[in-house]
Symmetry: C2
Subunit: 228 residues, 2 copies
């Protein structure tokens, strides 16, 4: 066996270990999403999560030494999912609103994650909760994104007169949260249609009409000729 053979074998072995380790982490995170969502972070134990993931308690502790670290991994995995979707669809102004509606449709296929998010965000309003700062930051970020979108829509003359950008930015985020609770209680609730109803109310024309206009189409452009 040459030196380079040994290196190749070691590399394969390291890669194998990494892949196995990553697969175990994913299993644990999935089990934690389900349990945190169903019972809450406070009521879930690492032992229960290990059992649900089908790994030993010590394997779980090897990957996540504390429940707070596991929580962080869970929240990061959820954020990655959202970012991929928003990055894919969202630009600014009207297309951002369309992306929000698409995200709502997507969320209706993600019950465990939505349950997790609803339960954690309520629990985490307690300042002592390990996810408190995460949720404070997350809401600031989400509302800031909305604020920027509505400010642009207003500049384009597409916001209904008298609407307050700050408040509708907040209301959009609030509505999404509240609709998710209703949908978790009754899966017949059409979250995307309800969000669209709200957005139609703050725009000069229904979102579906504004969506049909291409970026180069000037049909909905104000006299200032600002473009989407």
């Amino acid at each position: 066996m040459t030196d380079s053979d040994t290196e190749a074998v070691q590399l394969r072995r390291r890669r194998g270990t990494y892949a196995t380790g990553r697969a175990t982490q994913v299993k644990i995170i999935k089990a934690a999403v389900a349990l945190f969502g169903e019972s809450g972070f406070n009521a879930s134990s690492l032992r229960d999560i290990a059992k649900r993931a089908g790994v030993t308690h010590s394997t779980l502790l090897h990957h996540f030494p504390t429940k707070a670290e596991l929580l962080r991994a869970v929240l990061e995995s959820r954020d990655q999912g959202d970012s991929i979707l928003l990055a894919d669809k969202a630009r600014e102004g009207i297309p951002f609103l369309s992306a929000l509606v698409t995200l709502m449709e997507h969320n209706a296929t993600q019950r465990p994650l939505i349950e997790l998010y609803a339960t954690l965000s309520a629990e985490a309003t307690a300042v002592t909760h390990p996810a408190h700062d995460y949720f404070v930051d997350r809401y600031e970020m989400v509302i800031e994104q909305n604020r920027r979108a509505f400010a642009q829509i207003k500049a384009e003359g597409l916001l209904r007169g008298g609407c307050d950008v700050e408040r509708i930015a907040r209301n959009t985020a609030a509505l999404q949260d509240g609709l998710q609770i209703q949908w978790l209680l009754d899966s017949r609730v059409d979250m995307a249609a309800c969000l669209r109803e709200f957005l139609d109310g703050v725009l000069v024309k229904p979102l579906s009409e504004l969506e049909r206009c291409r970026p180069d189409d000037t049909a909905y452009i104000t006299p200032s000729h600002q473009r989407l």
Copy 2:
């Protein structure tokens, strides 16, 4: 001591016991509201609640033999509070919307109850949660109240054209829930102003203008001459 003396003494004693018992129950319910709200129902133990209420574990069990029974008492106490306020203010149509805004202002003075409600409603989306049916029924009732109010407002010609009564009934409830989460995370959030912003968006005139019209005032009445 005559027979009637004995009866009077016994009655006083019974009343005393009742009053003491009721005071103890109120203390326990208050402690449960705080703990369920902070940590969630699942993570709170009857021992912790007894400790917080300053009563022994066996005193608590005497009043509430199970955690589920204590939860029921907690939810009923919250409902009574809401009903008093809505019964006092709400009539139908526009005055009902005004009462919702007043309730939002009132809620901003009720942090423990709002925390409780936010945490429990999220936890209780799990079908196995003892408050699951309560929350399913509660949302149906709340949305039905909203639906009736908006249907009347529509009949009076005060609903903006194109608004869907069913969806805005849902959205109103969803918005209240979501705003409460934001307010719990940041108490500077003006929930009542945000709710008013939303309601203004679905009405033909801002709510404050419609509120100024008295029931006998026909200034905002449609040709059908229906009255508020």
